[in-house]
C-alpha cells in the first residue's frame, strides 16, 4: 500500500535563471519584440528600395551624435553586466549602484537621441523616409524608456531589500531586457546610419 512520503532529493522552488518559468517567458517576449524590429527594418528597407530619388533624402545622416551615443548605450550594458555579476558572486553588496549608473547612461542616451531628432531638417509627416526614420528610432526609444522604467523599479526593489536572494530572478529579467534593447540598437543604427554611408 503506498503512503505519503517525502522524496530524498532536494528540489528548488520556482528557481532562478533557466530553472524558472519567468526566464523562458522573457525569452518569448524578446523573440516577439525582436521580430517586430525585423519587420520595422524590413519596411524601412522596402520603402528605401522602392524609393524614387535620394534615400535618405538629402544624403546619409551624420554620425557625430549617433556614434558616441551608440558607445554610450553599449557601455551601459557593460556596466550593468559587470555590476550584476559582482553582486551575484557576492563581490558587491548591492546591485543598486550598477542599476542607477546604467539608468543614468540610458537616460543620457535618450536625451542625445531627442537632440538628434530635433536637429533633423524634416518632420514626421514630411515623407516616407521621415515616417520610417521616426517610427524605427521611436520604437527603439520607447523600448529604452521601458527598460529605464524596469531599471528604476528594480532599483526601488533593491533599495527596499526585496532582491536579496542571489541570483535574483527580477534582476536577471531586467538584465536580459536591457541587453536586448542595446543589441536591437545595433541593428537600428546599422540600418539608419551605416548602410547609407558612401565610402
Amino acid at each position: 500500500m503506498p503512503e505519503i512520503r517525502v522524496a530524498a532529493r532536494l528540489l528548488p522552488v520556482n528557481g532562478t535563471g533557466r530553472l524558472s518559468t519567468g526566464w523562458w517567458g522573457m525569452l518569448c517576449l524578446v523573440a516577439t519584440e525582436g521580430i517586430l524590429f525585423a519587420y520595422l527594418i524590413f519596411s524601412h528597407g522596402y520603402l528605401g528600395a522602392q524609393a524614387v530619388g535620394d534615400w535618405p533624402p538629402g544624403g546619409a545622416p551624420a554620425l557625430a551624435l549617433a556614434l558616441p551615443n551608440t558607445f554610450l548605450l553599449l557601455g551601459s550594458s557593460i556596466v550593468l553586466e559587470i555590476g550584476l555579476r559582482r553582486y551575484e558572486t557576492a563581490r558587491a553588496g548591492s546591485p543598486l549602484p550598477a542599476l542607477l549608473v546604467t539608468a543614468a547612461m540610458g537616460g543620457a542616451f535618450v536625451l542625445v537621441q531627442l537632440k538628434e531628432w530635433s536637429n533633423k531638417p524634416f518632420s514626421f509627416d514630411s515623407n516616407a523616409y521621415a515616417c520610417s526614420y521616426f517610427t524605427l528610432t521611436g520604437f527603439h526609444l520607447a523600448h529604452v524608456l521601458a527598460g529605464l522604467f524596469a531599471l528604476l523599479v528594480l532599483a526601488v526593489w533593491s533599495w527596499q531589500g526585496r532582491l536579496r536572494r542571489r541570483p535574483s530572478l527580477p534582476l536577471a529579467l531586467g538584465r536580459i531586457y536591457w541587453h536586448f534593447v542595446d543589441i536591437v540598437w545595433l541593428a537600428v543604427f546599422t540600418t539608419i546610419y551605416l548602410v547609407p554611408q558612401q565610402p
Binding site: R9, P12, V13, N14, W24, S43
Partner: protein, 642 residues
C-alpha cells in the same frame, strides 16, 4: 481504469488538494479565477458566440446574394458585413476556439496542474474578450470596419475611408495581437517546462505539437500585422506616408506585411485543429496514429514553409517573375507535409477498426474537406492559374473549404469528443449524427458551387451581380446550402444544451482513449491530478494492450506536492523533474491590466490622449504589482505518494 482505482489517494488528502486549488466562490472568483479549465471553457464559449455572430452576418449576405440585383443591403452595409464576417471568423473565432481547447486540455494532457503562467492565461482571455468587443464598438454607430478582413490600402486610407471604421480595425487588431502574443508565450513555456515527468517530446500528443507550433509562429508573425496596423493608423491620424503614394509611401507594403502575417496565421488556425484529429481519430479507429513522428515533423515543417508562401496572395500585383516563381514553388511544396498528415489519417482508418460515432464522422468529413480545399489551394499555387482565378468566387470556395473544413469540423468533432471530459456527460449520439450530416451536406451545397461560379467569372467582394451573368440559379443554391449548414450548427448547439442536463454520465474515460486527460475524473478536480503521473509512453492508458511498449506509466504513485499550489517543473527535452513550481492563486490583476489596456485603446481611438495616458499609466502600475518579487523560498524535498 483499473490502474487508477487501485491505489486511490485517501479522501482527506484529495480534499486538501481540492481546497488548495479551488477558485474562490462568487463574483470575486468569477473575475479572479486563473484555473485553466475555466479559462479554456470561457475561450470556447466566447469564440462560439463570435462564430454565431459571424454566421448570422454570412446568412444576411447570402440572402442579399441569393438572386441578382437584390436590394436588401446597401453597398456600404454589405461592405461592413463582409468585413465584420471575415474579421470575426478569422480573428475572433478560429484561433481563440483552438486556444480554448488547448487551454483546457494542455495541463490535462501534459499531466500538470495548470499552465506555466496561470495569470497570463487569464490576461490573454480578458484581452481577447475586450478586444473582440472593441472591434464591434462601431456597429451601433454604423461605423464598423469596412475594408475587408485584409483591409487593403489605399481603399482604407483616410482619403477614401474617412470614418472611424478603419481606425477601429487597426487598433482592434493591435489590441487582439497582445492577447495572442501573451497566450502564445504561455503555451510555449508551458510546453517547455510543465510536462509530466517522463513525457519527452516524442511522447506528446499531436494537439500539443500543433498548438506549440502555432504559438511559436504567432510570436513571430503577429508583430507584422500589428506593425502594419500601427502604420496605417499613423497614416490616417497623423498624416504619415507609409502607404500613401504622394509622400513616396508604398501601398504594396501593406500587403507584404499583412500576408507575411496572414499566411502563417492561416496555418496557426489549422495545425492545432489537425492535431485534434490526429489525437482523437485514432481513438475511434482503435489503434495508435500511423506515423506519429512523420505527422509531428510535418506539423513543424508546414509552419516553417508557411513563412515563405505569403506572396501567393499577391500574384496579381505585378511583382517580378522571380519572386512569383519562388513563392509559387514554396506554395506547391507545402502540399507535401499536408499530404503526409492526410495519408497518416487514411492509414489509421484503413488499418484500424473504425467505430462510427459522431466524432469519427466529423473527423472523417474533415479529411474529405481538407483534400478538396488542399487541391484547390494547390491549383491556385500555380501563378498562371491564379491569374485566372484571383478575386473570383473560386478563391472564396477554397478558403472556406480550408478554414471551415480544417478548423470548424475538427472543432465540432473535438467538442463532441471532449464534452464528456468537460461536463461529465455524453452528448446525444442521434442528434449528433443529424447535426453532422446536416452540416456536411449543407456545407458542400453552399461552398462547392462557388468553385463553379468562380470559374464562370463571378468576382468576389461584390454586393450584388447582374442577372445577365447567368449565375442566379447557382447563387440561390449556395444560399440554400448556407442555411442548411447553419441549421446543422443549430442542431449541434441544441444537442450541446440538452446534453448539459440530460446527457448520460460519462465516467473518466468513456471513449477508452489513451492519453492522460482521460486518467482523471470527468469533470476533473480543480487540481487535475491527485498525483502527478510519470509517463513512460505515448499512450499511458493503452500500455497493457500495446505489445511494443515494455515500460509502464505510473498514474497512482509519484509527486503529490500538496504544500500549497504546486506542480512539478521538468527539463525542456527529456522532462526530468528539476524544480517545484509554486503557482499563483486567484487574482484580479489580469482583469485590471486588461481594463487598463482597453482604456488605452479607447483613448487612442478617440484621440483622447489623457485617457490613453491614464490607461498606459494604469497598465504599468498593474505590471509592477504583478511582477513584484515574492519572498524567496528555500529548496524543498517534494512530497510524494509511493
Amino acid at each position: 481504469m483499473a490502474t487508477i482505482a487501485r491505489n486511490r489517494l485517501p479522501d482527506q488528502e484529495r480534499e486538501k488538494l481540492r481546497a488548495t486549488w479551488e477558485t474562490a466562490p462568487g463574483v470575486y472568483g468569477w473575475f479572479a479565477t486563473v484555473d485553466h479549465k475555466q479559462i479554456g471553457i470561457r475561450y470556447l464559449v466566447t469564440s462560439i458566440v463570435f462564430l454565431l455572430i459571424g454566421g448570422v452576418e454570412a446568412l444576411v449576405m447570402r440572402v442579399q446574394l441569393a438572386q441578382p440585383g437584390m436590394k436588401l443591403l446597401a453597398p456600404e452595409q454589405y461592405d461592413q458585413l463582409f468585413s465584420l464576417h471575415g474579421v470575426t471568423m478569422i480573428f475572433l473565432y478560429a484561433l481563440p476556439v483552438l486556444s480554448g481547447f488547448s487551454n483546457y486540455l494542455w495541463p490535462l494532457m501534459l499531466g500538470s496542474r495548470d499552465m506555466a503562467f496561470p495569470r497570463v492565461n487569464a490576461l490573454s482571455y480578458w484581452l481577447y474578450l475586450l478586444s473582440g468587443v472593441f472591434l464591434y464598438v462601431g456597429v451601433p454607430l454604423g461605423q464598423a470596419p469596412n475594408g475587408g478582413w485584409f483591409n487593403y490600402v489605399p481603399y482604407t486610407s483616410r482619403e477614401y475611408d474617412p470614418g472611424i471604421n478603419i481606425d477601429i480595425y487597426a487598433l482592434g487588431l493591435i489590441f487582439l495581437g497582445i492577447s495572442t502574443a501573451v497566450g502564445s508565450a504561455n503555451f510555449v513555456v508551458t510546453l517547455l517546462r510543465t510536462r509530466a515527468p517522463g513525457m519527452s517530446i516524442n511522447r506528446m500528443p499531436i494537439l500539443v505539437w500543433g498548438t506549440v507550433t502555432a504559438s511559436a509562429a504567432n510570436l513571430l508573425a503577429v508583430p507584422s500585422v500589428s506593425l502594419a496596423c500601427l502604420m496605417l493608423w499613423l497614416d490616417r491620424s497623423f498624416g504619415a506616408h507609409f502607404f500613401e503614394v504622394s509622400g513616396h509611401g508604398q501601398p504594396l507594403l501593406w500587403q507584404h506585411l499583412f500576408w507575411a502575417f496572414g499566411h502563417p496565421w492561416v496555418y496557426a488556425l489549422v495545425l492545432p485543429a489537425m492535431g485534434i484529429v490526429s489525437d482523437a481519430l485514432p481513438v475511434f479507429c482503435r489503434r495508435p496514429l500511423v506515423g506519429y513522428t512523420a505527422v509531428a515533423l510535418a506539423t513543424v515543417t508546414t509552419m516553417v514553409i508557411g513563412f515563405g508562401v505569403w506572396v501567393h496572395h499577391m500574384f496579381a500585383t505585378g511583382l517580378p517573375a522571380m519572386a512569383i516563381s519562388f513563392f509559387s514553388a514554396a506554395s506547391i511544396i507545402i502540399a507535401i507535409p499536408s499530404a503526409i498528415a492526410v495519408f497518416s489519417w487514411l492509414a489509421t482508418i484503413w488499418t484500424g477498426q473504425p467505430v462510427f460515432r459522431t466524432p469519427f464522422l466529423f473527423f472523417a468529413g474533415f479529411v474529405i474537406l481538407f483534400v478538396i480545399g488542399g487541391v484547390s489551394g494547390f491549383m491556385t499555387a500555380s501563378a498562371a492559374l491564379d491569374w485566372q482565378l484571383t478575386d473570383t468566387y473560386f478563391v472564396v470556395a477554397h478558403l472556406h473549404y480550408v478554414l471551415l473544413g480544417i478548423n470548424l469540423f475538427p472543432v465540432v468533432g473535438g467538442i463532441y469528443y471532449w464534452f464528456p471530459k468537460m461536463t461529465g456527460r455524453m452528448m446525444g449520439e442521434r442528434l449528433g449524427r443529424w447535426s453532422f450530416w446536416t452540416m456536411f451536406i449543407g456545407f458542400n451545397i453552399a461552398f462547392f458551387p462557388m468553385h463553379v461560379v468562380g470559374l464562370e467569372g463571378m468576382p468576389r467582394r461584390v454586393y450584388t451581380y447582374p442577372a445577365d451573368l447567368g449565375l442566379g440559379g447557382w447563387n440561390l443554391l449556395i444560399s440554400v446550402g448556407a442555411f442548411l449548414f447553419a441549421a446543422g450548427i443549430l442542431l449541434f448547439l441544441v444537442n450541446l444544451v440538452l446534453s448539459l442536463s440530460r446527457g448520460a454520465p460519462a465516467g473518466p474515460n468513456p471513449w477508452d482513449a489513451p492519453t492522460l486527460e482521460w486518467a482523471t475524473s470527468s469533470p476533473p478536480p480543480p487540481h487535475n491530478f491527485d498525483i502527478i503521473p510519470i509517463v513512460a509512453s505515448r499512450h499511458p492508458l493503452w500500455e497493457d494492450r500495446l505489445e511494443e511498449v515494455e515500460e509502464r506509466s505510473q498514474l497512482d504513485r509519484g509527486y503529490l506536492l500538496d504544500v500549497g499550489r504546486e506542480t512539478i517543473g521538468t527539463t525542456p527535452m527529456d522532462a526530468e523533474p528539476n524544480v517545484i513550481l509554486r503557482m499563483p492563486g486567484d487574482s484580479l490583476l489580469p482583469l485590471g491590466l486588461a481594463l487598463c489596456v482597453t482604456l488605452l485603446f479607447l483613448g487612442l481611438l478617440a484621440h483622447a490622449w489623457v485617457i490613453a495616458g491614464l490607461g498606459l499609466a494604469g497598465a504599468l502600475g498593474v505590471l509592477v504589482a504583478w511582477l513584484a518579487p515574492a519572498p524567496p523560498v528555500e529548496a524543498q524535498k517534494a512530497r510524494i505518494y509511493a
